[in-house]
Symmetry: C2
């Protein structure tokens, strides 16, 4: 078990990474919650697998609990489902002494964090992420949101959880593509912030791919600690420090938009986006081609794409990039590596160079 | 013009009370806002009266603006209207450098504050309250919310405005009953916190009733300052200090519920509720009957009810009180006066006494 504190702004919380915690119980981690009934928010995939174990931990902590289950998938981040969740919280007896346990992936974390933060002007929420993407990334960071019909994550808050429990053992039930997609954000954290972690992921790529809980405990907690370091210094994304976390995301988001959300997984898009960013860095800041090769090799080993999906029109990806909110003041913004483990923003990247790079990794 | 700072938690803001400010322009007060386009949120009553003046002030401050207008009335505090407001903000070109000017009464302030606080994880909002209720009370306090279909104000946040501009001159266009309803919260502030202000309101009851802007400038700013003092010490309602602000509200809320929301104005219900609380304090803590008489005289002069509406069943009011969220741990909770200008919570009030008091002021 590995534990550490995250202290953004005025409220700190504890992150525990422990293989097997969900099955063995984590009642003690829930001591940070108020005494009232706990709404266990989960989705239709996760609830049947881990809902009962979570209920036992909540009850063992001396609190009443009730289940709120939403359909699996991004569609549950709508205002309609949000409203239904609040209604079920009322029906379940939630009041100002209550809290919410978000048991699931990114959708459940985003929806649950937003619901808890606005229910009766805010009750605490506890994150128990069950996808690798949320374990390695979104469970720490303090961003929660639901979608507007016209814009993803438009309706949101910066809101810190009361605590986070990450159990890598639950990843065993994850579909292979979901698992790989999550690894992309882990590789990203290493690539931008920690060359040593990157080398470790290369060395331990086999047990990582095999989802070995002990290896993952160490790797995930290191990724989360790296992210927490950034978030602690820039809780509300006002100082530009969080921007490095967008490495691979300029092209990644554009790919998701150009292909249509849901066509490509977030981590897959980020994977190809990281390769694109490295190619761009080779051209603009002397990033070593050998380092790009190391990144590509690791991503490929994990089953992640290092080229654009077959048939992708680079022009459409560029167009989507122009529309992306990361673009400011007319110029495309990229996060580029100087070397593995060190990243920084690049202002005013020329569109012609981006297009060349996209063509270079096109299929 | 009277100005003062409010400093709850880590973010302070400035309140300006100035008769005629809306007509004369208040561009300088908007200097606290970020440089991007300002969404001027208003309702179908207020927009035609003051929308153009507000637009001129925003443009004079060097910012672009666009209008977002919702139907007047509590119905606009729905998730549907909230979603529509966010859509119109997108259409108007709002981004993270934008802000929102809430120009209207409590509904616009609540809806606008919540919309701004959740739009792209939060942009600043500026309050320009146009009803007396919002000028004297809700514009300071940091509570914003929309309604759930099953519960009023269920979906909300503690969120502080970037600034507040109160112009008593705009009250000239308010319907008489709306104006009186707002005075109830002003009388409340004096009754619980400031005997001197109460005496002043008695002495200046004529110019107050006549809506004299100079008199109102002084009275409103004093009421807001009193509220700010409480809010500064208990921003998130966690220390029980804000509870005194609920004077008159135990019976008031119950009356609104028992009669059906919209049947009686909030201030009217609070007015009768304050009289009930004083009668109760006479019985339980030796509050002087002469002070109750002073309160009743002042409220009556302002056209506010000091009895339950004709035909009200005291038993139904008591039943509604039991269901009220202010009730904790099985006992009815009241805020009672020790004397005019001094209030405190009363635990475990006997229902029989409450019923007697309600019968005593029944029609």
């Amino acid at each position: 078990m590995i534990e550490f504190n995250v202290n953004p702004g005025d409220r700190g919380y504890r992150v525990r990474v422990e293989g097997g915690a969900v099955a063995h119980g984590f009642a003690d981690a829930l001591a940070v919650l108020p005494p009232g009934p706990v709404a266990i928010l989960s989705d239709s995939n996760v609830a049947p697998l881990y809902g009962e174990a979570a209920r036992r931990s909540v009850e063992a902590s001396g609190r009443k609990s009730f289940a709120v289950t939403v359909p699996a998938g991004e569609g549950s981040k709508s205002l309609e489902v949000f409203s239904r969740v609040l209604g079920e919280m009322l029906s379940g007896g939630a009041d100002r002494t209550s809290s919410l346990l978000a048991l699931g992936g990114g959708v459940v974390g985003d929806l649950g964090g937003f619901a808890a933060s606005t229910f009766m002007r805010g009750i605490p929420f506890f994150m128990a992420p069950t996808s690798l993407l949320s374990q390695v990334d979104s469970s720490v960071g303090g961003k929660v949101a639901v979608n507007h019909t016209r814009s993803k994550n438009l309706i949101g808050l910066f809101a810190q959880p009361a605590g986070v429990l990450v159990d890598p053992a639950v990843l065993s039930t994850l579909p292979a593509e979901e698992y790989a997609s999550g690894l992309a954000e882990g590789v990203k954290a290493a690539a931008i912030l920690d060359a040593e972690l990157f080398a470790r992921m290369e060395a331990e790529r086999e047990p990582i791919r095999a989802r070995d809980p002990a290896t993952l405990e160490a790797v995930i907690s290191r990724c989360l600690r790296l992210k927490a370091d950034v978030v602690e210094k820039d809780e509300r994304e006002t100082k530009g420090l969080r921007e490095v976390l967008n490495f691979g995301h300029t092209v990644g988001h554009a790919l998701e938009t150009a292909l249509g959300y849901g066509t490509i997984r977030h981590g897959e898009a980020v994977s190809a986006g990281m390769v694109a960013a490295c190619r761009l860095a080779e051209r603009t800041r002397g990033f070593q081609a050998g380092e790009t090769a190391r990144l590509e090799t690791l991503l490929s080993f994990f089953g992640l794409p290092v080229r654009l999906p077959a048939g992708t029109d680079p022009g459409r990806v560029l167009a989507a990039m122009r529309g992306d909110k990361k673009k400011r003041g007319g110029a495309l913004r990229f996060v580029l590596l100087e070397r593995l483990g060190r990243a920084g923003p690049a202002e005013a990247v020329a569109e012609a160079q981006v297009l060349e790079v996209l063509r270079g990794i096109g299929a």
